[in-house]
Amino acid sequence: MSVLDLSAQLRARSVGSKELVSACLANIEKSNAKLNAFITVCADAALEAATRADQEIGKGDQRGPLHGIPFAVKDQFWTRGIRTTNGSRLFSDFVPNTDATVVARMLNAGAILVGKLNMMELGFGPTLDPPYGVPRNPWDLTRTPGGSSSGSASAVAADLVPVTLGADAGGSIRLPAALCGVVGMKASRGHVSRYGLMGFGGWFDCAGPLGRTASDCAIVLGAIAGFDANDPQSSVAAVPDYLAACSESAHGMRIGVVREFLETDQLQQGARNAFESALAALKELGASIQTVSIPNIDLASTAQTIIAEPEAAAWYREQLIERPGDIDVLPRCRLFAASLIPASFRPRAVRFVQRLQQQVDETLESVDVLVSPTTTGAAPPITATRIRSKEEAWRTVFGGRNLCTSPFSLTGHPAISIPCGFTSEQLPVGLQIVGKAFREDTLFRVAASYQRVTEWHRVSPQTITRLQNA
């Protein structure tokens, strides 16, 4: 059920917040041992907060559509008085004394925090032995939910909670959203505060919502976006009514298909077929489709590696020296390697980013949004191993998983992933929609229009039924 529906029921008092939170806690209790979506569950605090919300709503004092709605956040966001691990043993005892801005804003909107979600360690790629359990994809427990916001996507897909927050520096919201069949958005750079987000401290970190529908994400983005003096990158751009944009039609919108993403041999047939069907649906809605070209966009992950990886290595340098054994082998080796990327490569990579930003801006003059598959394929099996060759390292570091998402982390444009179909293995894949800076409303307009005429977001993983019957 969507946040809007739940909110209407709360207002009508046909259901209580305590009832909703109890249902979430029961589902978490039933499924989390297999999914490993949650690291921490705040059952008592959530039930207390829900009781207060019920009292307030009962007095006619409903603060907005999130009041009384359960949510959960990636364990990368500070939560006052609640352990925040960043998915790592390094922070197994870290209890912040303040909330991240996005958490505080959700709480101020009346949402009920039920827990902290599992993630790839430090938000830094595959983990051989995840400290808080192997995150699993609800559609197939042998497969990864993607990452690094792994639990943020799987918890929504498995109906453990209606909405979550994740963080994205190269695709870490959009990739797991696509692989788990839910909606995930990375807003424009600077539109959502990074204060209290344990990212790399670099350009690319971006917090954002995940949910089952574009409307749910619009509601959450409306609550968390906007200027924050605690984040030096924060923008003063206005926060329009994103939910209103969801009721607009995509009729007449100009949609650009990025040719380079479709020409890559990394794009698997299942993702290609779903993407082409999505284009047909958008055309049916009255949008015009045209092909656009952004040369060299495939090099974005290379530029991102040169810029972002050394920043991460610098961020964790002290821990790499003093506590390397407390970091899983794969992120540890990645951080060691990142320490050796020469600073002399950086200026050229920064120039590339500026060029790419210019190209994307120019392309978005002739179309309203760009579209692409979010990922090159569906969720792969969970098979993290040590790197055994340069070619394998090449695939791991620069490989296709971020091909379509990292360019827009570099350029700072907003991007959303919505479910757009299934592969022959019955695994979900996503459609990425990218817009002009601070025009998240256009993304919601297209995404919500698409979801009104498709059913992909209404399908729940069969796995959950099996889990609950197990």
Partner: protein
């Protein structure tokens, strides 16, 4: 550019105060050499047209 050897990777990390164990070292070397190889792809892009304050702009001021 030839690949860095394990000894070179170990020495470079040691200069930064980082001491990976032998099991990590091969993994790290593969990653470093893959990265150094791939960054050359950026050379194929003509970045002189990039929209930014270039060296040329600075000289003109």
């Amino acid at each position: 550019m030839p690949d860095l050897t394990l000894d070179q990777v170990r020495d470079a990390l040691a200069a930064l105060g980082l001491r990976p164990d032998e099991d990590d070292l091969a993994d790290v070397a593969f990653r470093v050499n893959a990265t150094l190889e791939r960054v050359r792809d950026l050379d194929r892009v003509d970045l002189d047209e990039a929209y930014f304050l270039s060296d040329k702009d600075l000289k003109n001021e």
